[in-house]
Amino acid sequence: MAFGTTSSSHKSKKLAQSAAFFIFRLLSFSVVAILLVILGFILVQGISVISWEFLTEMPREGMTEGGIFPALVGTLCLVAGSMLFAFPIGILSGIYIHEYAKDSWFKRFVKLMTNNLAGVPSIVFGLFGMTLFVNQFGFGDSILAGSLTLGLLALPVVIRTTEESLKSIDDSFRIGSLALGATKWQTVSRVVLPMAFPNIITGLILSIGRVSGETAPILFTVAAYFLPKLPTSIFDQVMALPYHLYVISTSGTDIEASRAMAYGTAFVLILIVLLANLLANWLRRYFGKKVKMN
């Protein structure tokens, strides 16, 4: 067979390749399609109720009229509270595990436990939070108890994100710094962390998305069925978007009448997550540029 002519084996090779790529492409498109269908469906169903009033008013008429303001505020409080708890602990643990801990049984144990913690069903966190924070510590159903419970849920994600971000920094930077007489802490704080920062930030914001949509952990620790007023302290109960969605879709006073409200709520919830993701992307690029310069 002369070079440059097309043999039949060559043809079948090409065909197999085309077929494989076609299937891969189809599958990745279908993932996008599924997301678009979900978003579109919720948008179409819920857009009619979305308005400034929907976002800023209290629910009325057995939650079939009015807005979702208290639930929106409640969710924002819970996200802020849980991050206040999970970020410092999670980031510092991640730094310790990756940069300081020697490879020992203790390090492996901590990593194993972190992974296990990530796999615990969220309803179990809810029960745990109720037992410990609500009852044992006597916080009652409150923002504090709910935030701590959500924070526990976010903790393994934050630790893993920090660890993975640190792992992606090439060792040559650490070695280069140590070789100049820098201590380990100087190396971590002046070289490694600034480089890992964009990725850590991204992971943190993604964990916000996760936390804002959780229902089970807040079920027994903070979420109110109907509470048309804003919290005044961290010991108050609040409404929250995911639980509100659950309530008006399954156990409201008039489920049919609040159907549109439910889709509107779902839309706002998804919007929060999407905005968080966009923000994460933007921050990563922004800080990524900044790190190279300083």
């Binding site: 020697k102 490879d103 090439d170 040559s172 930077f173 070695i175 280069g176 710094s177 140590l178 070789a179 100049l180 007489g181 820098a182 201590t183 100087q186 002046r190 070289v191 600034p194 480089m195 790190v291 190279k292 310069m293 300083n294």
Partner: protein, 250 residues
Amino acid sequence: MNSVETKDVHLYYGDFHALKGITMAMKKNQVTAFIGPSGCGKSTYLRCFNRMNDLIDGVKIEGDILIDGVDIYKTNIQVDDLRKHVGMVFQKPNPFPKSIFENVAYGLRVNGTKDKRFIEERVERSLKQAALWDEVKDKLKKSAFELSGGQQQRLCIARALAIEPSVVLMDEPTSALDPLSTAKTEELIHQLKEEYTIVIVTHNMQQAGRVSDYTAFFYLGELVEYAKTKTLFTNPKDQRTQNYITGRFG
């Protein structure tokens, strides 16, 4: 005068006996080259001089290593002090993601220098010593990543010189560089020995021939032969050295 002196140095990675009793001395203000096939222990030996092997789990070192007369494995030695005294340049240029200026200033800053004027002067001097000043003097605030590979490596040399070490270790410093940058770096090494003692590990025998005053040949964790570079290349005493430099294995 000897800058680096070692007596019967053994190094183990776990069960692996990587260095087998190495005794040698490197002269002040001279360039000493370590050559030998991959895995012969030359880089491992080099990394003993600034205790970079400390970073690897399961390494055990026996014997004495003296830098300017000080036993660096004695317990009262501060490793960061030692590394200020013994600078190092690596195989791949590894500038920090900081500006050109901050890269060179880094060593001074982590060692507690605050005086702005002093830092500026030292940065300029180091960049001049590393033959990089003219190329970067107008863009010191720019990111070091904007430099070419050869420039980055000279930046790393400047960075090492800024804290005024007495010994500079170079671990295959040109293996990631193009021929022109390599030539520039070699020329630089020549000039640097006026002020520094230089120990260089190289894969490239021509390079050892060009830049060094003394050459040591390592094989399977042993120091086979150590002599003036000219002598070692023209009249090797050991059969293994001869085989290696004539290209019979490597």
